[in-house]
Amino acid sequence: MEIKVVQKVLSVNERMAEENRRLFSEKGVCVINVMSSPGSGKTAILEKTLARMAGKVPSAVIVGDVCTTHDADRLARTGVPVLQINTDAFGGDCHLAAHVVEKAAGELDLSRIQLLFVENVGNLVCPAEFDIGEDRRVVVMSVTEGEDKPLKYPVMFRTCHVTLINKTDLLPHLDYDLAKAKENVLQVHPDMPIFTVSAQTGEGMTGWVDWLKACVEEKVSGGR
């Protein structure tokens, strides 16, 4: 005997993500989901980004890691509210789901911020599948990884709105083919904006920060 179900498996997460989105819109908070493989420099990029936003765009960060508060400690030095989520003390969850972000956001005074970064768990597979109620999804790759990351993880690069290629200060020491890397991004996601940056030297950060400011302005003015 067959019973028809016809339901999305992740409908619970999707509903929760929509609730988050509604809450963030109501409060006029632009939410940026930042994803990458471990070690691409998400935290360093956010440190430098937050420094540039200081005094201009009130911001906060929710940071997801399996263990430790190291990233949160670093980010807190920039002076913004930081909330660390540890998915497990011993080898836990590989992504942040919408209900986790909802709980964490409840700890922040959303009426005092315009920009909320969610630094996801370092992973190019699982976070791709989970909507957390963000406005924009950002994927970071770095020049110390392969140029073929977009081809290996097409779901991630398809579902994101912008790519950052980090650690460009190391290019003189590497065989990295930057043009090929960009070509691979565009093969998976034609027209995707790409910013090449060095969190270390600050090179290329202006374009990325301007892009973010435009997102915040759009959100605050109720455009999205």
Binding site: I3, V5, C126, E129
Partner: protein, 144 residues
């Protein structure tokens, strides 16, 4: 300025899943269990039909492995996951051609435009469940 930490699952995150297929398997278990009509509660579920797009981060083998673990000692224990893999089909917004993608190249093969509409491939749907019946067509009771 503050840093607040939640650690461990007991006080914050209700679900434990070392790989995301585990969480997905748990969702399938929840949805399938809730879909069994009241008079059939406790009946053995023979199979669950799923549609999984090729453009999802879900590996059918991992999903089956996880489902076997999470469904243990439930009426859904032993239920087979019939996974229909859905190909990635795109339509070009510029020239209206439609094709099935065989790799991660998302430009139109006809006019090279990158403005595509993805028609299928992102599915992660539970379609139906099948209740096991005896020779008389009566539902067989599950283990738990």
């Amino acid at each position: 300025m503050f840093v607040k930490t939640w650690g461990g699952w007991g006080n914050f995150v209700p679900r434990r899943s070392a790989m995301h297929e585990m969480g997905i398997a748990m969702e399938i278990l929840t949805i399938a269990s809730a879909s069994i009509p009241e008079p059939l509660k406790g009946a053995k579920v023979r199979s669950i039909r799923l549609k999984v797009g090729k453009l999802t981060a879900v590996i059918p083998e991992s999903l089956r492995f996880c489902f076997d673990i999470v469904s243990k000692d439930t009426p859904l224990s032993g239920a087979h996951l019939h996974i229909e893999e859905i190909p990635v089909v795109a339509r070009c917004k510029a020239c209206q051609n439609q094709w099935t993608l065989s790799g991660p190249s998302f430009s139109c093969p006809f006019c090279e435009s990158g403005k595509l509409e993805i028609l299928s491939g992102r599915e992660l749907d539970i379609d139906a469940i099948e209740i096991e019946e005896d020779d008389d067509g009566k539902p067989v009771k599950g283990k738990a």
